[in-house]
Subunit: 149 residues, 2 copies
Amino acid sequence: MLRLSKKADYALLALRHLAVPGPRATASARELAESYDLPPELLAKVLQQLVRGGLLSSQQGIRGGYGLARPAAEITVVDVIEAIDGPMTVTACSESDHSCDQYTKCNIRDPLWKLKDRIVAALSATTVAELAIDLVPAPESIPVSLVRR
Amino acid sequence: MLRLSKKADYALLALRHLAVPGPRATASARELAESYDLPPELLAKVLQQLVRGGLLSSQQGIRGGYGLARPAAEITVVDVIEAIDGPMTVTACSESDHSCDQYTKCNIRDPLWKLKDRIVAALSATTVAELAIDLVPAPESIPVSLVRR
DNA sequence: CTGATGTCCGACCGAACCAGTCCAGTTTAC
DNA sequence: GTAAACTGGACTGGTTCGGTCGGACATCAG
Ligand code: SF4
Ligand code: SF4
């Protein structure tokens, strides 16, 4: 129901950790796993996927680890989600996949795709650099209270 | 990921069908199922959930069927999704559910919740009445670029 | 009033998907 | 050479989701 996967969740967690300025710009999978109490092997696989997606750079060897492949401000959350879970699609169908049985008779495709574009836009508007700002000091005049309609 | 369930998809399809102006304002589950070639029983269950959610009104008996409980313009897609799949949550945690193991150490909750609010806002901006407008005539002056933030 | 009909309703089940695990292999620093 | 770290694949258990079944209820013919 429009919920992002746990893996994507962990990915954002790790990216945020790497984005926050500190003495070291890199960290090993083990360090990250211990910092947040999550299964090391799973986190490792997530990080590998991020490397494959071009968001992280990896360094093998005994002093190895992971680091951001580009500035944190240039990594959006859509990038992360797509690197982990594949292309973002709100519906089961897409421009390149007409496999839905109701495709010909369906008349809500276009509006929903438009909606998808809007969601993607909202997700691309936030970068991991913004995630790294701690305690979000209300950069906007509108706090959390702008909920629903 | 971030994909809506097939049931929610069917729900929107059915609601759109009921929202389009025509001779009858109601339709039976069987009619709808045949119109769109989808499993009748499943569609029936979806409709039941919508009734429970207060979006549809049902009429039993030999001339029974389903009808909109309120004007189409007052039914947003979030209403539909929440009626089908429960409350919208982007993350596994929420204001009322701290069951995530990383809850105390997590530092991306607030930004993600804000993101959720923004998505919900985008989803509440569209009503089923807008879905009923066929063939979306104009690409509208403001395409996808109304990122809003 | 009564039976037949067609509808809604709730419980049930199998399949797909996802979080999590394991292990064998490769690369690099010391 | 050895230890620490990344890489890649295959495997499993649990949960959710799509789909199916029989029963309850309201309407209408007679
Ligand atoms: S029902 Fe329509 S919108 Fe949904 S997956 Fe099928 S074609 Fe796409
Ligand atoms: S990791 Fe953080 S954001 Fe994700 S579910 Fe847990 S507490 Fe929520």
